[in-house]
Amino acid sequence: MENKYQVIIGMEVHVELKTNSKMFCGCKNDPFHAGKPNIYTCPVCLGFPGALPVANKKAIEWTVKLGLALGCKINKFSKFDRKHYFYPDLPKGYQISQYDLPFCYDGKVETSFGPVGITRVHLEEDTGKLIHQKIAGRDVSLIDFNRSSVPLVEIVSEPEIYSSAQTKEYAKKLRQIVRYLDISDCDMEKGGMRLEANISLKKSEILNPKSETNSKFKLSKELPNYKVELKNINSFRFLERGIEYEIKRQKEILESGKTPIQETRGYNAEKNITYTQRTKESAADYRYFPDPDLPPIRIDDQWMDEIKKDFPESLDGLFARWQTKYNIKPELAELLFETNQEGQWLNKLFKKTYEQKLPIDKMVNLLIHKKIKTVLFKDSPNKAIEEYKKTTVIDDITDEQLKVFIDKVLSTNQKAVTDYKSGKTAVMNFLVGMVMREAKKKIEFKRLEKLIVKEISK
């Protein structure tokens, strides 16, 4: 057996929702553009004595929406719990989160390697932001609470991911779904989307050595007796690399007969290594209990209908429709867009393209190769179609107008004309190109060739 260790990965992804206001207070939810520290703060998000939280309805609805998009079941009766630990960026000494009754549970994300189960999707509040600095020779941390109590959704997957590539695909797909729902910008650089991978290795039998999906291994639900938590990753590429590094590192430890330590590790992009952040010698004891300050939440049928009302078509549904109607392959469709607006725009564009009987495969090709840039034509699919026509087909130039350019090219390239006449027809490519350069337009080859031949033989 060439590869006796199989990696098992479970993902925890945190996403900041882009509501107007914060999760439990009316402060503005815009930590990345605040300009100054600690200005979007109040007694609630600073954890002042006597302050009380009031939950943001929209954040709850968006969490449920995400759950639905991930095929989750929804807990009709839910509540918020306090999760206790001490850290300077956590102003109350506890984070308001959800423990045993998350809003959503038991969903699924499809990847090309196989499905990944979603254990739960719950809603919580973000912490403040710490900046580590040296001031007057002293190591200090500066705290900004603009981010404190921003709504944060946590999506926990089953340990059902079996490669770094699948992890990357899972995370990308998740981001696409969240952005398509238009509930978060998922800015990974700034921490609007944060990835954590729980990684461990297990000896596994290889069933199909040539398989590129999860059918390669004989899968079992049994988990190893340790796991390493990889944290603080701000790009998909680093996620993939970090996991690759971990696989190598853990394999070496296992092969030497030892068990990797259960710990939290970070990824250093410069050195492309992972490093110990915190060993969990004493397991955290979060002392969860229901937050007495927040009444429970019951999602009845009427509220559920309201949530579903402005629910967009599912991504997989959209891709399936594009495939049947426009013959666009889902693998290609996935590459085309990130955000909800882009998705909607593309939908309109394809509809128009289809109505005007223009070839959609060419359109997709141009989009994928960024010849037509989605960002440039956000407001108007019509403009994009014009651009498409310019780059591909016959122009609005008349034969008379073209004749002027052809005459000019032929008179300045006498040698090519002679060559053509003597049978070297390959020179036609050159002539057509020259005319197009003169005309500053892309013109259908056949049409130009015909016109040029007509002029030469005059």
């Binding site: 309805k57 200090v140 009444p295």
Partner: protein, 98 residues
């Protein structure tokens, strides 16, 4: 009767972020043992199939609309802190990168 040992007091005080002196640890272990001893009177009560009560209000779904309300200005936010720097709260560094 369960005794609260000094070791338990040490572990729990760490969880609760309280620094205790040796003297306090000994005294607390003693006092807390007698109180926990009293509380253990509930040990043998049968609570099978009984739901937990976390709150005594019947209301549900008390939520707010997603509307921005005025915040503090920076000065108000910081004014009760003894340690600030350029608009930030300043604390001694505890753990890096965590």
């Amino acid at each position: 009767m369960t005794k609260i040992s000094t070791d338990t007091v040490k572990v729990i005080s760490k969880l609760a972020k309280l620094k205790l002196t040796e003297e306090q640890i000994n005294k607390f272990a003693l006092d807390l043992s007698s109180i926990v001893g009293q509380m253990e009177e509930i040990k043998n009560l049968d609570v099978k199939n009984i739901a937990e009560t976390a709150r005594v209000i019947d209301e549900e779904n008390i939520l707010r609309e997603d509307i921005i309300t005025p915040s503090f200005n920076q000065e108000q936010a910081l004014k009760n802190s003894k340690s600030i720097h350029n608009g930030y709260f300043l604390v001694p560094q505890i753990l890096k990168d965590d």
